[in-house]
Symmetry: C2
Subunit: 289 residues, 2 copies
């Protein structure tokens, strides 16, 4: 498919996963004066998230239908945004366009999430679409450098942050879920398939059981994108729920890489961080320093 | 304190943590014809574990009493064995000998377990004791190379094992709890403060919730000692409970580093592994190959 119409005029397709971010991005595109068409993935997205915009529900495995809708809408540019659930192959009904693409998709399912997403990206690129990062369309969804709320990390927290960034750099080649909790230089938790919220619940539970000896108010959650991760698909995200999880886990705060982390509902992040007396900060990755 | 008596004649002190291993080691020492005196740590050890041997209950923080008992018993050689709970400083009542040692102990409490144990080791060495690894006294508690039970890993399992050993080597400098679960090259879980049993419960739960897409019977638990870990204090351990956790998590099996992993109740490990159709294997670390 080729499209010689000027890019600025063409509608932007937003493939929507879960959470509130798809609406935030759609509103930003709308404010910038560009038409957008939302493609919420059935089962992952609340109908209210997309109700205010032109949208078509799509199914994983129905790639042919997606391509026809893209042509009808005159879309070439695609943004992926929202929470991705690793799909069960058994639940997917395939159409013909998808079946033709299956060998590449199966290869993508072996290996980690990073590999899966970059393969899907290559497939779409190869079919004449242009993938754009949500942060390129709506740069104000990225965490800036410095504290978001009232509090800032102590020198001890900063040592924990630096150690956690080193740890995440070491695990990066293994396509692990890129978050860790470190308190007083002791690694309390490393995130993998369970996700950040469950990892924080685990830390809260270990603390209730007396298995964490550092005082409440010690320790940091650090999230960082994998090295080489394609920012068009998948950036670490924090939201009000992350802040509450950090508070319940008895940590001092959250640190994420500035300019490479998406924040959902920034005002609410600040409000809850201040209410729970935890810091939330965008830091430079050590690599950039 | 110096002890010029021949080592073979002197009693061996076994400081006992939790679990069944202290008794296994004491029985091995007994069979070898050497007298041993057990020092179970109060609160960590079942009385039945030590009942058959001369023993003195000790408390963390009562180092002076421990030194006097060691002198009375004529012991210089010490073995540490059994499950260690990271103690809460608040629960410890200190005697004078301990207070003198506090600055070094406090330094040890900052940082990970490996650092804690090696510092305690240096303190004991400095006081004229000789620390010996349990595996030096009872080498048959170490996992040998090759499958323990009926089953062996498939080629796919072997690829997961190799990837997990690489991951654990990468996390080793961060003093993380040295175990991971990988299925079909996808990292499902990395162990930190929660311990192996809880990590396996998490994998079982993720599978029940449909968040793991690989088939039941896929994936491996791999445990490996940290690089530079002092084998006199702390070697990875597997037991019947580990095997059952692996079965419940729907994994294909367990791989540990041969010659650097302790097995509790080997016959029971084999019986339960065969009953649950999982493999349990001692592998060479990649470093040694």
């Amino acid at each position: 498919m080729t499209d010689d119409a000027p890019k600025a005029a063409a509608s932007l397709a937003i493939i929507c996963g879960g959470g509130s971010l798809p609406r935030v991005v759609a509103e930003a595109v709308d404010r910038a004066g560009r038409r957008c068409v939302l493609f919420p993935i059935r089962g992952w997205v609340e109908p209210a998230t997309v109700a205010a915009f032109p949208h078509h529900w799509i199914d994983l495995g129905k790639y042919g239908r997606f391509r026809r809708l893209m042509q009808t809408e005159g879309c070439r540019d695609i943004v992926f945004i929202g929470t991705v659930l690793r799909p069960s192959l058994a639940q997917i009904r395939l159409d013909w366009e998808t079946i033709k693409t299956l060998p590449a998709i199966f290869r993508a399912f072996r290996g980690g999430d990073n590999h899966l997403l970059s393969t899907l990206g290559r497939i779409l690129d190869g079919h004449g679409y242009r993938l754009i990062g949500a942060h390129e369309i709506a740069p104000d969804i990225l965490v800036p450098e410095g504290p978001l709320g009232r509090l800032a990390p102590s020198a001890r927290d900063e040592a924990d942050i630096a150690l956690a960034l080193d740890l995440l750099r070491a695990t990066s080649p293994f396509d692990v879920g890129q978050a860790a909790v470190i308190a007083d230089r002791h690694v309390l938790a490393v995130e993998a398939a369970e996700g950040t919220d469950r990892m924080l619940e685990r830390v809260a539970e270990l603390r209730r059981q007396g298995r964490i000896q550092t005082r409440p108010g010690t320790g940091v959650l650090v999230k960082a994108a994998k090295i080489g991760q394609d920012h068009r698909f998948d950036l670490p995200t924090i939201g009000p729920k992350t802040v509450e999880g950090v508070g319940r886990a008895g940590l001092a705060g959250i640190a994420v890489v500035a300019g490479a982390t998406i924040m959902a509902e920034p005002q609410e992040i600040v409000r809850r961080a201040d209410a729970a007396s935890v810091f939330a900060i965008g830091v430079r990755s050590l690599k950039a320093q």
